[in-house]
């Protein structure tokens, strides 16, 4: 939130007394596309970008379909001193965020990465460049940071090439897609991606937003930014439903999916609902061999920002137990406005081990970094 925060007490600024955490959703940006991304793009695509820019399935050449609540959806204190967009300087991110909150593992999820571009060849070239840039400008500069392999997911074959290019590279901990795909993610056009990820033992993060082109609600386009933001949770439900009901987890039993920045309290009701409908429609779904809730329990992780805030913390505790504490990953969304501060998270009371796993251990286990 864009409010003036209190000055930190000296103890809270001392990382040695703070819980070490993993932040599973950090958004890095280039200071300048020309200076930082172009070196990794072929001449053809540099020219293409100069002429046409990044054309997505949304109305505007630059800027989002729904104007944000503040410029760049950013925390006002995240602008780089001396100039630069929020999240565009590895050194400033290191002091302003990683040191400040004792982030031991920070997972980078680049957003303007070429994903969802209308021109899939350009998408593939741009994603590849952004992946190279994550190494040169981020993971090689600060060992706490790990990258996400941005996939040009609307073309499965090009995505598989990128997965194979990065498989085994310790700079990356996961692959990366956006929730709003052009068809539901369980559809067969995407299956080669899941086969390749399972073979590479690489988790797949699926982040809010995306440019599939279909309305963001099944009743058409909403009016407000707040509706667009809340609707990520409904898109995420549809995405999880599709993966389960199309049989993706039967086909790729090694696939692990992390839902990022789309809420988490919706997961138990979705699982209960799918189980009931599955029971009555077994004949239509012979490829879904187990109750949907079991696939969800085995294959779905969720990051927690923006954190759920019911009036009563006990209600949140119920929900987190129903999901499974081992499936929840702490994230801040730095440098965005709806940042969750780990020191001020309204987390239900749990034992020390559960708390430490929530903030760090679950991520280390998922990414094989213990």
């Amino acid at each position: 939130m864009n409010v003036k925060t209190e000055t930190r007490t000296p103890t809270s600024a001392d990382p040695s007394v703070k819980l070490a955490i993993a932040d599973c959703d950090i958004h890095p940006s280039p200071k300048s596309v020309e200076k930082e991304i172009y070196p990794y793009l072929e001449e053809r695509w540099r020219k293409h970008n100069d002429i046409y820019g990044l054309i997505l399935r949304q109305p505007y050449q630059s800027g989002p379909a729904y104007p944000k609540g503040q410029p760049d959806a950013a925390r006002r204190d995240a602008y780089v001193p001396g100039g630069g967009r929020p999240g565009s300087d590895v050194k400033y991110m290191g002091t302003h965020h990683l040191d400040e909150h004792n982030v031991q593992l920070g997972v980078l999820n680049p957003l303007r990465s070429g994903q969802g571009l209308q021109n899939v060849d350009f998408a593939a070239a741009y994603c590849r460049a952004v992946n190279d840039w994550q190494i040169s400008h981020w993971t090689s500069q600060d060992a706490r940071l790990k990258g996400s392999v941005c996939l040009p997911y609307e073309d499965a074959a090009l995505s598989v090439e990128e997965i194979e290019r990065r498989a085994g590279d310790p700079n990356f901990v996961q692959a990366f897609m956006l929730i709003r795909t052009s068809e539901p993610m369980g559809q067969r056009r995407y299956w080669p991606i899941y086969d390749a990820l399972a073979a590479a033992n690489m988790p797949l993060a699926v982040h809010a937003f995306g440019f599939g082109g279909t309305p963001s609600t099944s009743s058409g386009w909403p009016s407000y930014y707040i509706e667009d933001m809340v609707a990520h949770a409904q898109s995420a439900q549809s995405m999880v439903m599709s993966l389960v009901m199309e049989g993706v987890f039967e086909r790729a039993p090694g696939l692990k999916v992390v839902v990022v920045e789309a809420g988490f309290a919706w997961l138990p009701p979705l699982a209960w609902r799918l189980d009931r409908i599955w029971e009555k429609n077994r004949a239509e779904l012979p490829h879904v061999k187990r109750p949907p809730s079991e696939y969800i329990r085995d294959h779905i992780w969720l990051t927690t920002q923006p954190f759920e805030e019911p009036d009563r913390r006990s209600h949140l505790k119920d929900t987190m137990e129903w999901i499974g504490w081992d499936k929840l990953l702490f994230a801040t969304d730095y440098p965005h406005w709806d940042f969750d501060d780990p020191a001020r998270l309204p987390l239900p009371k749990v034992d020390k081990a559960t708390r430490e796993n929530f903030f760090l251990g679950n991520a280390l286990d998922l990414y094989g970094l213990r």
């Binding site: 068809e183 407000y224 809340v230 549809s238 309290a265 609902r273 429609n281 779904l285 759920e308």
Partner: protein
Amino acid sequence: MPAVAPGAIDCDLHPAVPNVKALLPYFDDHWRDMIVQRGVHELDSISYPNNAPMTARPDWKPETGKAGVDLDRLRAEALDGFQTSLAICNCLYGVQLLYTEDMAYAYARAVNDWMAAEWLDKEPRLRASIVIPPQNPEYAAAEIDRLAGDKRFVQVLMLVMDEMPLGRRRYWPIYKAAERHGLPIGIHAGSAYRHPTTPVGWPSYHAEDSAAQAQAFQTTLSSLMTEGVFAEFPELKVVLLESGFAWLPSHMWRLGKFWRGLRMEIPWVDRHPMEIAKEHVRLTINPRDVPPSAEAVERLMNHFESDEMLLFSTDYPHWQFDGDDALPDGISPALAQKICQDNPLATYPRLKETVS
């Protein structure tokens, strides 16, 4: 399982139009000619494939033809079966799916007149929702005005997935007319199929279409609240029919969280969405997307922070439960009483007007 005590009010059951022939007497000459000459097909929505498992409970399914067309069976299976005192009929003939608004208006009038003559006149325990053509809100408001004098019509019926999110100002003439006559807006599962049934595109399976209704109800509630429908129409109640309900608390947490951060965009929303929901939103009890254990159901019920939001429904003849297991385990006897009688009576003021 919690018992449904005698006298319950069933807020969602589905008499079905057997075929277009049954409606013909209720059209004017022009539309009767059009329907016959053009050979207009049955308007059965793909939301309920006629032979799909959930469209008709096995023991409520006739040997041939559609379930829900026979008044005697509905009396025996739904009304006597649960000893209900009153039951609200929501006819799901695909009027809202037509692309021609004049035709939709004609069909809505025919369905409503058919409902009054073939069901309400013949069975005093039945009440009904007014079918409207949402394709044209002025026509819809006119149809509400036409029927509002008949107190057996207790609600206005819409489908959750229409051309636009239902909070959009385009629909406000409908809400204005409903509020004027003390009629709740019943929003039922289903789609006009103007858009893919999920926000990420068309799914492959009917089971997904069914499951996706819950997401549609969530975004619809977001729309009704953020557009300011309840600020503009403070007396209006919205009843979510065949919506599931387990998703409601967590959806309100989410909308409330963003309301705290972005309320400058929608200054007419001056309360937390959960507070608005407690006052204006009601949900029917079947289908029930609840956890498998009674203990978890009890915890889930606490998340509502209200015992006034849920309404009894059998969803007859759809298959949501077997036997007389109409309420999930984990609901206390006191809550069951609220769900089965008190809450429906409080939601539908006309129910009290029509029974002594």
